[in-house]
Amino acid sequence: MNVPDDLLYTESHEWIKREGENIRVGITDHAQAELTDVVYVELPKVGAKAEARGQIAVVESVKAASDIYAPVKGTVVEANAALEGNPALINTDPFGEGWIFVLKVDSPDDVKQLKDAAAYRAQIG
């Protein structure tokens, strides 16, 4: 499984890319492989307040709906509208075109608590 070194991760299989005071968030290659064919994504609304580890989006496969969590506290500033037309981007390019939302982080220190690639690799075995 692909676990890029330059990203941060959560226990619940989101990846986080730092972009100044914002973070871009998606789900990992491991998570998309477990979920399989993604057929629908419920995006967060721009402007929505997110709590750390609070449910913020939903990714649905044929078989089940899975909650996606905000890695840290913040405000949604962007959501990936391309997923509305092509939810399978999460399967084909989980770390790129398949990003889900961008969060303006309340407290930059919170991001430091997230897992690095080595810790996430250890988690998924």
Partner: protein, 368 residues
């Protein structure tokens, strides 16, 4: 689900070796998918797919009284079955509620094979045994543990069987069963399925399961065969509106409400649940199992999602998924009969939000 270790079919090792994702299914651990539900679904619609159905129960009723006795236990008429043919039927409780839906084959003049749902096999057997009194010459056996089975489904199934058994071997006709031999293995081949495609269900000794499975996959390569899991089995059957016991069928509903009165012979003088069904047929039922399709893009419906009409909750979905063939959300639900007409506009509540849907004719998918 019990706390006991999950039961494994004789094909368990093959599923693991193929990299299947295994999930608990009732008392069993079963493959939900191998390459992906979409991929497996399309393989069955366009080519051919093979499913492990070894978890399904197999009961055998024998003896001079077996036909008469089964006719009092089951809704359809087994007297209409010639040797080698089968029919879809129901096992009901006294209130007309559905214990199980099954296929019964007449395998000899005085012998019947009942292929029942995995989750109900023990319950069916116990129920039938309790009702054996008065039919002393009838004998009932639960042979589920000794047999394996696979479903082979898709438009290329005939080509595949010619490759397996020889060009001169014909498959039995629709809803018929025949015995055959392959590489020393004894097979019972029933021409039936749960996908809407041409197909067979093949039963064999549990000891032969891995050999048969692997031979089918190898000979099927040239026809684009894919191993398929419970995920694709569910999307395929739901597109056809074939009911799933435990979801769309339950002891709380009878076959008339489920829209399956065709498989009930009310002309038979007696069978368990008959009075309730005669009543249901005469005065109509308050609820009806309908098929629905979501309008436009939206999240797929799931079992237990509330169904609304004009600001009132009128039911809940019993099944729901994204239809890979239609690329749209589909499902089934029991609705009050006055709202069960085809074309009725309803709403499905998904995470607190209502999405428009419409009651559709069954089946939801028709081959173009």
């Amino acid at each position: 689900m019990s706390d006991a270790a999950p039961k494994k079919t004789p094909l368990y090792e093959e599923h693991v070796r193929l990299g299947a994702k295994m999930i608990p299914f009732g008392d069993w651990i079963m493959p939900v998918q191998y390459s992906g539900i979409m991929d497996e679904h399309q393989a069955v619609r366009n080519n051919v797919g093979v499913f492990d159905i070894s978890h399904m129960g197999q009961l055998v009723a024998k003896g001079t009284a077996s036909a008469g006795w089964l006719n009092e236990m089951l809704t359809n008429n087994v007297e209409k079955l010639e040797v080698g043919s089968g029919q879809y039927t129901f096992l009901l409780n006294e209130r007309g509620g559905i214990i199980d839906d099954l296929i019964v084959y007449r395998t000899a003049p005085e012998e019947f094979l009942l292929v029942v749902n995995a989750s109900r096999a023990d319950e069916d057997f116990a129920w039938l045994e309790r009702h054996l009194a008065g039919a002393a010459s009838g004998q009932l056996k639960n042979r589920s543990a000794d047999f394996g089975g696979v479903a082979i489904q898709g438009p290329r199934v005939v080509d595949l069987f010619h490759a397996l058994l020889g060009d001169d071997v014909d498959l039995p006709a629709r809803n018929h069963i025949a015995e055959s031999k392959m590489d020393g293995m004894d097979l019972a081949i029933g021409r039936t399925g749960y996908t809407g495609e041409d197909g067979v269900e093949v039963f064999f000794s549990a000891n032969d399961a891995a050999n048969f499975w692997n031979t089918v996959l190898k000979k099927g390569e040239q026809f684009g065969i894919k191993p398929c899991g419970l995920g694709a089995r569910d999307t395929l059957r739901l597109e056809m509106c074939y009911p799933l016991n435990g979801s769309d069928l339950s002891p709380e509903h009878n076959p008339i409400e489920a829209g399956l009165g065709f498989f009930v012979d009310l002309k038979k003088p007696e069978f368990v649940g008959r009075e309730v069904l005669v009543q249901a047929k005469e005065s109509g039922t308050t609820d009806r199992l309908v098929a629905f399709r979501m309008k436009g893009k939206g999240p797929p419906p799931r079992p237990h999602y509330p169904v609304w009409l004009a600001g009132e909750q009128i039911g809940e979905a019993t099944s729901g998924t994204l239809s890979p063939s239609l690329n749209q959300g589909i499902g089934m639900a029991y609705l009050p009969t006055q709202h069960a007409r085809v074309g009725t506009e309803i709403e499905i509540e998904i995470r607190g939000q209502k999405f428009p849907a419409v009651v559709e004719k069954k089946p939801l998918y028709k081959k173009s």
